[in-house]
Symmetry: C2
Subunit: 191 residues, 2 copies
DNA sequence: GTCTATAACAAGATAGAC
DNA sequence: GTCTATCTTGTTATAGAC
């Protein structure tokens, strides 16, 4: 078989991903997942133990995807500054928010070690990648010696995550871009 | 009467504020509000039209309180840089998140102009205050002329809001402080 | 103003037929 | 593997007594 139809299990995971992104864990009901995926009650409980189990599969996939997307930009061409800039300016569905970061505002996700783990791991990985870039930039003389790579990496990530908050509050993606431009000005090498 | 007992209406609003902070709009049920406040079904629907109406009262009060708290620090003593630092370093219940900012992740809040308005207004006001401080710092020669006050203000706010995300993801307030230290290094006057 | 009763509907899951 | 009951509990509100 060269081209199999997408499985019910697959549709369940993808539907859950979309709903988690838009409505969070609390706001995502099994009923809504079933409606969106076109699956029946029985299918869902056959493939998954329940809502948390299905959500875990969805979150893991979203986390992996985010990692791949970031990887592509961060390990792309250019100087460390340019690659950080590319990460900050990459196309985003700003008003929809970060599919990973938004989960931190879900009490049920934070309360569950299993559900929080992929979120934590993704953000931690991103921080390491950014810190390594900053370190490189310091070695190349592009960034000041006085900068702490771990700190700057956290600031970059926080600006992105916070940019989503500002944008959603104002109802416009512009606020995200403004915050990013501010950070880039502060980071820009003197050269 | 010099000291009246706290009214039922008051207890309803305060209970709603606590629950909104911890569990968001979706996660806050009228039932939970009633249990926490000790009020009955009838009292709630006597004083408020329903959940959105009560939430609006709660959100407005939280927004006002946040403004007052920020005001105290931002218009306190010190140079512009020192006052921004004081804002960034002020005591926060980091793992609990921002009681105003977290509402932007609630689809029902964002979808309602009435509920989003106080959130938007508070963040906008904060941005203006910070921008004014940056402008002052530029005039006093403390910040570089090249800085755009609006942009830097957005970056400062985003770092705070994003700091909460990093902290909740890792389960530790340390991530918030790390991001703030990074930003302060970037902002610090050469002097 | 506050209470209890009631209700219509959604959430989350199980049972068992097909 | 998928489907349709069925079940328990929670959500959000209304009605009407006190």
């Amino acid at each position: 078989m060269y081209s199999a139809a997408v499985s019910t299990q697959e549709r369940l995971i993808e539907s859950t991903r979309e709903l988690l992104w838009d409505r969070g864990y609390m706001g995502t009901s099994p009923k809504a997942i079933l409606e969106r995926s076109g699956a029946g009650q029985g299918s869902m409980y056959h493939h998954f133990k329940g809502k948390p189990d299905l959500a875990l599969a969805a979150i893991r996939r979203t986390a992996e995807e985010m990692r791949a997307t970031a990887q592509a930009v961060l390990s792309g061409p250019g100087t460390p500054y340019e690659r950080i800039e590319a990460y900050l300016r990459r196309e985003r569905d700003v008003l929809r928010g970060c599919p990973v970061g938004r989960l931190t505002m879900d009490p049920d996700v934070i309360a569950s070690d299993a559900l929080r783990a992929p979120v934590d791991a993704t953000i931690d990985w991103l921080r390491e990648q950014l810190a390594q870039l900053v370190e490189e930039g310091k070695e190349q003389g592009q960034f000041a010696r006085a900068l702490d790579a771990e700190e700057i990496a956290a600031t970059v990530l926080a600006t992105v995550q916070g940019g989503y908050v500002l944008a959603r509050a104002s109802g416009s993606p512009a606020a995200f871009d403004t915050a990013v431009r501010g950070l880039l000005t502060l980071l820009r090498p003197a050269s």
